[in-house]
């Protein structure tokens, strides 16, 4: 199950979801891949067939970011937020929201480098336990009810 290429998913507290993955590159490259609009649309895509026609990044504390995904059927999804802490090469904190009816999360990326490989950990902090559980639940319930659209959104909020 676990290997160098597997993603670890944990619930560190009752308001958080965390993902961790080892990458075979120094962390300054990982930081660049994660924050440079030339790179982000090449990998932060979610399901197969999706593209990212809009990727705007103003990489400074208080700066905004805005991503738009286009699904295979042409439908688009919009997500935006602001950067809070931009500390290359090891830490990036940003807010993230899908819109007024979705809870705003605070996403913290930490990059720890060891012998040329980098452990990337993304922690998503929800405003409350209820919001996190609702997000987890929404992904499950609504995913079944609405052709997986919401689940896909939910997975997108983990970006």
């Amino acid at each position: 199950m676990s290997g160098p290429e597997s993603v670890t998913l944990t619930l560190p507290s009752d308001r958080e979801v965390a993902l961790s993955r080892v990458l075979d590159a120094p962390r300054r490259l990982v930081f660049d891949a994660w924050t440079n609009p030339e790179h982000v649309p090449h990998w932060m895509l979610g399901p197969e067939g999706w593209t990212m026609p809009v990727c705007e990044i103003d990489l400074r504390p208080g700066g905004s970011w805005h991503f738009v995904w286009r699904k295979a059927d042409g439908a688009e999804m919009d997500m935006r937020g602001k950067y809070r802490d931009v500390s290359p090469p090891d830490r990036l904190v940003s807010t993230e929201s899908w819109g007024p009816e979705w809870p705003e999360t605070i996403n913290t990326l930490t990059l720890v480098e060891k012998a040329g490989t980098t452990t990337a950990t993304l922690t998503i902090l929800y405003p409350s336990k209820e919001a996190r559980d609702a997000a987890l639940k929404t992904g499950m319930k609504e995913g079944m009810a609405h052709g997986f659209d919401r689940l896909e959104r939910l997975l997108g909020t983990m970006v």
Partner: protein
């Protein structure tokens, strides 16, 4: 990315909340890990945690409400057992969540390789 959600019909939303809440606590995770190796009484469970029996009982109540732990029939010992069902279902859900991100990270692997090659060539050209 695998998005099939078959098999979740019997996991009630309230139950999923309770399962995730129960799993959020490290002591409760340790109790589940212990019970995975075999049934144990409250006294046996309290030992390794340096906690009072009432404190352990409180954690066990949370686990029982989540359906993760059940009580045995032995009236004296009341051994607790691990109930694997809800845990497996919550895990299966998290597993899909995890898999979704694996696709992103696989693409990131490819991008990082290209970035490394690009850097190497650039450094080489400089010399």
């Amino acid at each position: 990315m695998v998005m099939q959600l078959k098999g979740y019909g019997h996991l009630a939303p309230g139950r999923l909340d309770a399962v995730f809440a129960a799993l959020a606590d490290p002591t409760r995770r340790a109790i589940l890990t212990r019970l995975a190796t075999g049934d144990a009484s409250v006294t046996e469970l309290a030992e390794p945690f340096e906690m009072t029996q009432p404190a352990i009982s409180k954690h066990l109540k949370v686990l029982e409400r989540a359906g993760l732990v059940s009580r045995g029939k032995d009236a004296q010992r009341r051994p607790r057992s691990l109930e694997p069902g809800p845990l497996a279902e919550a895990n299966a859900w998290l597993e899909r969540y995890r898999k979704a991100w694996e696709a992103n990270f696989r693409r990131l692997d490819g991008l990082l390789e290209r970035m490394k090659t690009h850097e190497k060539n650039r450094d080489h050209d400089k010399r």
